[in-house]
Subunit: 235 residues, 2 copies
């Protein structure tokens, strides 16, 4: 079953779409947004423009629902040539509030795996979302006691993970990261000599997508279900 | 000169209005906002309503500029009875973007004190703002090398600080927190037996104000200037 990971001390978990559903809610929100603005443009065009706007604002707003809502409001003004109604802007704000208030829907086997692993490893939640959002979800999820703490990274790049390891006072070989994004949860870890396990989610945000040429030859684990991680760890 | 702090291992610094100017920018933004909406209400009423709106949205949006902008947009819709122009909403978004892009203005003696203390103590930045905002400010400030890491707390309450100490693996008596907010940087530390130093800033957000009866009899240090902390630490 591939290499054994014998020296792991800390396991980092991505949160959104690794422990619980998230991206699905963004897709739903984008659909609602396109419907609200359907008098001005086609859903396809609105989707494309919104993605461009989010990318343009990313360095200002970062990740998370709040920046997403702000980009939607800005987009609505521009796309409507400054004629969108106040009620529609309010509806956009409410799309955001509803996203924040969504219940937490755990993915398969999450609780069982965390419970088991937390007995032998220090578990941390490593996320680039909004801290308040993530704490709220962790609270609602009932998983909070399995984690030592939440680590919020402004970006999930190699340098951010290197700082995290320094902060945890462990060597790269003692860290395993598990997550659904090759770009954010896997490749930056491989680069600094830490371990990473990829567990795909059915939908991936365009910004997180990577081409096969990038992953080619890189050493990481692919998990079909979270439970598969057991077979890589000492009994 | 009061009690000596002999066992300190880690010193936590609040960021906004302790290391650099922040609240002033919010005050300026509020004034701009009131001016934009002056056709609908008096500045005083707008200020009051905006604060109420922020408090109402705090559990959803948390602290930081993005939640502040979202509250301003919502406020503008309601205050104008859904008649505010698209251009004014765009102007509100731009108030927010300008806040995010503001240069970092260091307060007196900050660099000198951090440089000196970083030789003998582990320094951390403990903030409840938005991580991306704070990292950006830290980057711009040129102070980044003095800090071991940034600790983002969703709230600055005793339980959050207790978690932080657990995470740092130190006793309360080994931690000193320095900040401008009695409510956030001082009282929660006193409560858990850690040390705290208060360094007042000339303006305080209403949400951070505490009455004298609350601080009465509490044991903490008050600093006139950041340099005054030297006299409490071993030579």
């Amino acid at each position: 079953m591939g290499k054994q990971l014998n020296n792991i001390k800390v396991i980092g978990f991505d949160a959104d779409d690794t422990l619980w559903v998230n991206e699905t809610y963004f897709r739903d929100a984008e659909q609602e947004f396109a419907k609200l603005l359907s008098q001005f443009e086609t859903p396809n065009k609105i989707d494309q423009e919104l993605f461009k706007k989010e990318m343009k604002n990313l360095s200002l707003y970062g990740y998370g629902v709040k920046g997403f809502i702000l980009s939607m409001v800005e987009m609505a003004l521009e796309l409507s040539n400054y004629s969108v109604s106040n009620k529609k802007i309010e509806a956009i704000l409410n799309i955001g509030k509803n996203m924040i208030n969504k219940p937490v829907e755990l993915l398969d086997n999450v609780e069982e795996v965390l419970k088991k692993l937390s007995k032998n490893y220090k578990l941390i939640l490593a996320t680039k979302g909004d801290l308040l959002d993530q704490e709220r979800k962790l609270e609602k999820s009932g998983l909070i006691d399995y984690f030592h703490h939440i680590e919020v990274l402004s970006e999930k790049e190699s340098t951010n993970y290197s700082k995290l390891l320094k902060h945890l006072d462990i060597k790269p070989s003692e860290f395993l990261m598990i997550g659904n994004s090759l770009k954010s949860d896997v490749l930056p870890l491989v680069k600094i000599g830490a371990h990473a396990a990829h567990i795909p989610f059915h939908t991936t945000w365009l910004h997180e997508k990577v081409s096969e040429s990038v992953t080619n030859g890189k050493k990481y684990i692919t998990l079909k279900t979270l439970k598969d991680v057991y077979s890589y760890l000492p009994k």
